[in-house]
Symmetry: C2
Subunit: 277 residues, 2 copies
């Protein structure tokens, strides 16, 4: 099911700046049993991303009504779990790169099947690799979930082995920043460490939620760059995003890693959180 | 007029990866009196860009037939000059960033009115500014005219004064690389200098043509980074792209620059070239 500016259609004008330039932002939201999880946080990030790109997005209430409609249709179809993707672009037209004046941003909501990952991913952990493709430092775009995703595409297409769940990406200096579709944490001596995202990477909603959970659980959490040797020397390593929640990482390249108690604790607390629309 | 995979339509599936991730490349071609100028060079760059992104584009002949059809319609409408934009995306669908298998790339051809620039731009020169937004070093994407254009959009939206024709962009080290929609050359002591594009920027067709013309005219041309003081100390500075051709730059920020003979010579030789489809 797809809604473009509230209208059921699978088509978008070719002139939309989302296609022409990747001029927009997106969110990937988990739908579980009638609810869009962490929706407020997703909409906040969407609004912040628009603001940073200079997109005048004032349709948040309208978008929420459309999301409500989508949830109603998923419910009517007895769909328990789905992925709901929201895209907001600067809209259609304009003279080249210059933003058009008086054009309303485009809202696109689409639903997708819940991915059929093995339950072992969350319980026993996954294998990941290190990508060659780098994330470039770009402070004006860092943190935003924008539509310019060629770095992630090049990184993701470095492997086609289904046994590898994710690829970790480094910045130009060789610091590990995140995965192609997830953020990353390591546990070391009872402390959580996750890379800062002020120069590149996407500020994940689940990452922020985990930092919050950790704070309340008395687990110290710091933002610091992680080198390859830090991964191998960690007590636990895990990846996270809005759809998978938390997956322990049990192997990076040829190096095996322990799957531990803090990851399990955070998994349990994250699952227990039920954020209402 | 728009053709999507050969079919006249103004719409594209929302699932197209061009929209979802900016997963594609584009070309902007000048149509003059029945001909698409430098089409072979544009199609070569399109193919090379696809190759570098791992897009299996084998529809070059089909695309040429569709372009021929577009030219026929422009001719039938007695349109003398137009801008023809070609977009090729990786196609529709796929599981997240991973490229889908067996999906044909999407071909989009659209025609646009020829821009109504003052003739003075080419004869007397234009004013340009220096942008704050940087071009980040990304060797795997450098040179390609891909659909991830947020840097250019942020740069272009730094000003809305119609008296400023272009903004020059620097890399992270402060070297001037190119304009938001053009390449740049300086003339110094009878020699042409243009920045290298192996770390960021787009390898312009007109830039390559000018280097070729200069070579044949016995004007030495080197690729070297340009600093702000090199601009101000230059004998001549000009910008170029496929639509504007060559425009002398007569003012950068508050600094005026001479409009000189080598720029005029290159303009004349570029205009004289008639490359057939």
């Amino acid at each position: 099911m797809i809604l473009v500016n509230g209208i059921a259609t699978e088509q978008l004008p070719v002139s939309d700046r989302g296609l022409q330039y990747g001029d927009g932002v997106f969110e990937t939201v988990a739908y579980h049993h009638g609810q869009l999880r962490f929706l407020t946080a997703h909409l906040d990030r969407l609004s912040q991303g628009c603001k940073r790109l200079g997109i005048d997005f004032q349709q948040r209430k309208t978008l929420k009504i459309e999301l409500h409609k989508i949830c109603g249709e998923l419910d009517a179809a007895k769909t328990q779990n789905a992925v709901v993707k929201i895209i907001v672009t600067r809209g259609s037209g304009g003279r080249g790169y210059q933003a058009p004046i008086g054009v309303e941003p485009t809202r696109i909501i689409s639903t997708h099947d819940w991915p059929s990952h093995s339950e072992d991913n969350a319980s026993k952990g996954v294998n990941v690799r290190l990508c060659h493709q780098r994330l470039v430092d770009n402070p004006t775009l860092a943190g935003i979930k924008h539509l310019n995703r060629l770095e992630q595409i090049l990184a993701r297409n470095e492997w086609d082995d289904d046994g590898i769940a994710e690829g970790l990406m480094c910045n130009a200096h060789g610091d590990i920043v995140e995965g192609t579709f997830s953020n990353i944490f390591i546990v070391k001596s009872g402390m959580l460490i996750t890379p800062p995202l002020d120069r590149c990477g996407i500020e994940g909603i689940t990452r922020a939620t985990i930092m919050d959970i950790a704070g309340k659980a008395g687990i110290p959490c710091h933002q610091a760059y992680i080198r390859q040797q830090d991964l191998y020397g960690a007590d636990e390593v895990f990846m996270c995003n809005s759809i998978i929640g938390i997956w322990p990482i049990k192997q990076i390249e040829q190096q095996t890693l322990p799957v531990g108690a803090i990851t399990a604790l955070l998994q349990a607390q994250l699952s227990a959180l039920e954020i209402v629309v």
